[in-house]
């Protein structure tokens, strides 16, 4: 096949070899991957406002690989349930809430396949500090004891104020040691289940304090 040798000169072979290279280059340019919003995170997920105060909520969107999708959040759709406690305004993917009267409001936000829920608590103005009655030091109770504890609310002048209108919640670090009998309200009732040590935490609006409790 002398004809073949005549045809396949180096110059022509080089020309042929460039073909798969070009093809490979073109193929390498393919990097399309559909990116949908798999999850969203609401920032913040709740707010405690006094009447007249405002808060702004917004989201961050992530794809199915957890990558942040920076250009999507502006299309978040907020849905606020009927409430008289707040006034809302949605624009550019943000929810601006203005507190109107004491109470609570819930809303949901969705984008793509992601959904999140948020809450707004409208509470009286003036809360500066809280304290669990009896001070910050550790308390000791025997197993089986059922003590009542109260949270005290202070204003900026360190004067006591009424807990009415505030959302107050109680929690412990280890429910196996202490059972919280009353989760909401200014006074909680605890049951010392077994020996051990754990923390008791109370939250009033967006202010939190805690004490250590030893059961022995």
């Amino acid at each position: 096949m002398t004809g073949v040798a005549e045809v396949l000169t180096v110059r022509r072979l080089t020309r042929l070899l460039s073909i798969p290279l070009l093809w490979g280059f073109a193929s390498a340019c393919d990097d399309f991957r559909p990116q949908w919003v798999e999850t969203i995170e609401l920032r913040p997920d709740s707010a405690h406002l006094a009447v007249g105060e405002s808060a702004v909520f917004q989201i961050e969107a992530f794809d199915d690989r957890g990558e942040l999708l920076v250009d999507r959040a502006g299309r978040a759709q907020y849905s606020v349930r009927d409430t008289d406690a707040i006034q809302t305004d949605t624009a550019n993917g943000q929810l601006t809430v203005t507190a109107l009267e004491l109470g609570e409001a819930r809303f949901s936000v969705g984008l793509g396949r992601g959904v999140a829920e948020g809450r707004v608590f409208v509470q009286p103005a003036g809360l500066a500090r809280i304290e669990i009655e009896g001070g910050d030091g550790p308390r000791t109770f025997p197993p089986g004891a059922r003590p009542d504890l109260r949270v005290l609310l202070f204003d900026a002048q360190n004067d006591l104020i009424s807990p009415e209108g505030f959302r107050i919640s109680w929690a412990v670090g280890d429910p196996a040691i202490i059972f919280v009998g009353q989760v909401l309200g200014p006074v909680t009732n605890l049951f010392m289940r077994r020996s051990g040590s754990t923390s008791l935490r109370v939250t009033v609006g967006d202010v939190t304090t805690s004490v250590r409790i030893n059961v022995q």
């Binding site: 004809g3 073949v4 005549e6 991957r33 559909p34 949908w36």
Partner: protein, 1015 residues
Amino acid sequence: METGAERQVLSNANGDYLVLLLQPGGPYEIEIGSLGYATFRRENLMLQVGDVTTIDATLDEQAIELEGVAVAVERAEIFNPQQVGPATLLSERVVEAVPLLSRDITELAVLSPLVQVTQSGGFSVAGQNDRYNALLIDGVLNKDMFGLTSGGVPGGQAGAKLIPLDAVTQYEILVAPFDVRLSGFTGGVMNAVTRSGTNETRVRAEVVTRNEALIGDLQLPTGPVEASGIDRSLVALSIGGPIQRNKSHYYISGEFETRRALPAGFNLFRDDPRLVRIGPDALTNMTDIFTGQFGGELGTGEIFSLNQDLANVFGRLDWNFDDGSRLTIRNIFSHTSNDQSPNRTAFEPYELSSNAIQREGTANSTSVQLFSPIGDRMANQMDLRVNFSSDETTPVSTLPQFDVGVLSSIDGSAFNRPVRFGGNFFGQENSLSQTAINFTNALDINTGDDILTVGVAANYYDIGHSFLPGANGEYFFASVTDLENNAPQRFQRTVIEGGADPQIDFSVLEVGSFIQTQLNAGKGLSMRFGLRVDVPYVFGAPQTNFDILDFYGFDTGSVPSGNVMISPRWGFNWQSEGEKRTQVRMGAGMFAGQLPYVWLANAFHNDGVRSVTQTCQGRITDDPGTPFAVPSYVPGSLPTACQAAPFQLSRSAVVFPDNFRYPQDLKAAINVDRELTTSLSATFGVLMSRAVNQIGLRELNIDRTAGSGPALELGGQERRFYRGLNGRYSQVLEVTNEGQDNSAAVSVELRGRIGDRLNLQMGYAYTRSFDRVSLQFADMQSNFGFTPVEVDANDPRVSRSVFDRPHKIVLSVFGRPIPWLPETEVSLLYTGQSGLPFSYVYGFDLNGDGYPGTGAAFDRNNDLIYVPERATDLPASLGTIGLFARAMESDDCIRANIGQIMGRNECRAPWQNQLDIRVAHTFDIGGAAVRLQGDMVNFLNFLNGEWGTIESIRSVVPLLEESTSDAAFVQWGGASIPIRGDDGEVGPADPWDVQSPASQWQVQLGARVTLGGAR
């Protein structure tokens, strides 16, 4: 030649010469001369399209012309160094001789054993999609690139023909041309070479007629039915001659035709009611109730005439310039109107005449070709074509579409089949206008041993398309009682938001460039290396649907544009030395196709914003408290809301990924040609094709879920079940690139002469074709919805394509066999081929994937049948169990799948045989050639009424439907035959239809008068 065209070239130092870009045809006269040598002259040289004819001449110093100069003008056309891939070339003699009842030149493609006629009437080349072919006239693209129809003829939706038959002198079918000048296909190339005027004026007139007296009986399962309502008349005129002798010529040809036919299938009042599954009284009762209550014209359930009118005019002007340049201007005009048959098959709703649609197509194409020699070694070819076309689809009725379940008692058996009437759902808003501009320029440079070709191409398409299925609404009444109570079960309508214009507009620019070198290496070896780069750009975009973007990750406002496609090709031709009795042709390379732009238009129509389908479900009478119940039908108006609630809204979307590429295949072929005798040659060929980028579909709006209830009895162990992912949408389809489709073909061909009087062309091909989605339709919802699901709707197996028809035999014999009647021509054409593939499916959405569904997914049944171990395992009534049990006995395909879900396209209609013959005799009367011609199509059927049946079948056959009775889950979905066998029991009818009149012998008579002209 007869046109007076002249070309002069110089040979190189070795004496090699090449005359490029000659017009196919002839007769040519060649003169070779040199100073001091005698002039060599050869006359009557005819050139085939694409031919390279070798004329070797030895010049003697003596001024004497030598005897025995080797001139191989009579060799089979295939022995040609330019031929690399598999091809079938049909000379003017073949075009003239083959009995072509339709006079549609594209049908000559069946003479290639590698070409199969598809379910939709297109041509599948070596198992490829029938929309992937290129259709050329004199090498210039002349295809409907929008792709409304599979045949690709502009205006083809209405049945338009490409060009008048008399205007064609040669036709070629290139299965895999490894020539980078040709692009835009992954199937094959079909090229018609047209006739030009010559120095002698020629006038030709022809009439053709056929009527029901010349047609045999239609053989139905219940007995023969006399032919009626079928006729045809055609008048063809042509004239050609000189404008200025040897300089300019004209040729004009026109064909004007009317056809009349009847709806194919089983027609009520003519055929047995069991075949129709509707009793005549029940139908009359239903129509009386409707018209009595609402008025309106429902049309007829009987046979009725379907009319088609066709007009084709072709004109051509040629100029030969003194410098050897040649300019050709062509114009092709066609106008066609056609009544499309309503469904009268054994399956799915029976359609009255008001549900038919009328199609109208108009196309005008003007092309300019300039062939310019540049010096002695270069030649340039410039092609420019401008095409305008419009396609209109109009429903016969202005009513909404109605489906009414009609319960009939026929000979003691109960049948329930919907009857459909009113404005056809898919024809309610359907029109297309498009402008195409195609430009190609190729420069051939003869470098001595090599020919270097460089060129550029640009195609521009401007498209305006309206398509809004269900724009006038659709009502479904579950029973005639519901119709009486005016209590519809379902209403749906699709509207454009804000009442905007339903038409979408976009344009596409495809640019390409190519370089190719044809190397003559001597020793009979020539090789071809080519590289082509094509880049399509889309102008215009749908609007971005941000909800789709955020939920599915696809931007509906982004369509694939600017993606580069590279097509390297290599070809090889070797001819044995000496008499060149053996030839080996081999090639491999990439072929980049064009996207049928109707598929891209899907993304514009379906962006999930533009249009919305309004739906109400549930009868008021059943549950007055149902909020989404359908309001009663009020003639002349459509509901604005459901009974006690707003409409249920659903939208659909079709999205393309940014990196989507047009179809692209890798093909490799080898063909060995051998001259068996001086007049007979054989070819053995192998062709393999593998998708690099083919097209697939994925439904994004479904999620896996567990099946439940009786559905689990129908393949629940294997079948996957789905639920909708996002209730705001009905379907969200992603058009993907797939790389697993493949096909292979082995072929043997024999061509030449038998004795002195007969020409022979015969071939056999074994072709297999496998794919994941067969893409037979214009809209993507149909393409997904008619792809039967074996297990996973979004991961279809690579299985038999709908274009898979393994065997084909073609035999063409023609000539003047009677010595004492030398002017009598006889022609015979036999084609035998495997039947069409199909799948048995359920007539409802068993797997919950949304198909069939609302909007464009309407009626799209895609869940494959599960064949239980015993028919009694079927959750159905005794009647259905009985019919299914008989089907399990009589249908090999069903029996082979007992205990499993059937495979896609696993079933096949019977083998098809067709034998057509033509007898023609030419008289000379006063200088006029008068040719009388008689064609008998389907001669086998003439010999025996049981032979020659041509079956048509839809690719999906809904064998079992959702039961209308609470006591059963499924019911028989097909027709039944009253008495089969000795037991007198009812049996299932075959799932296919007997095509009419194709299954009947038909005689067509013609007379032609030709005045003047040698051709």
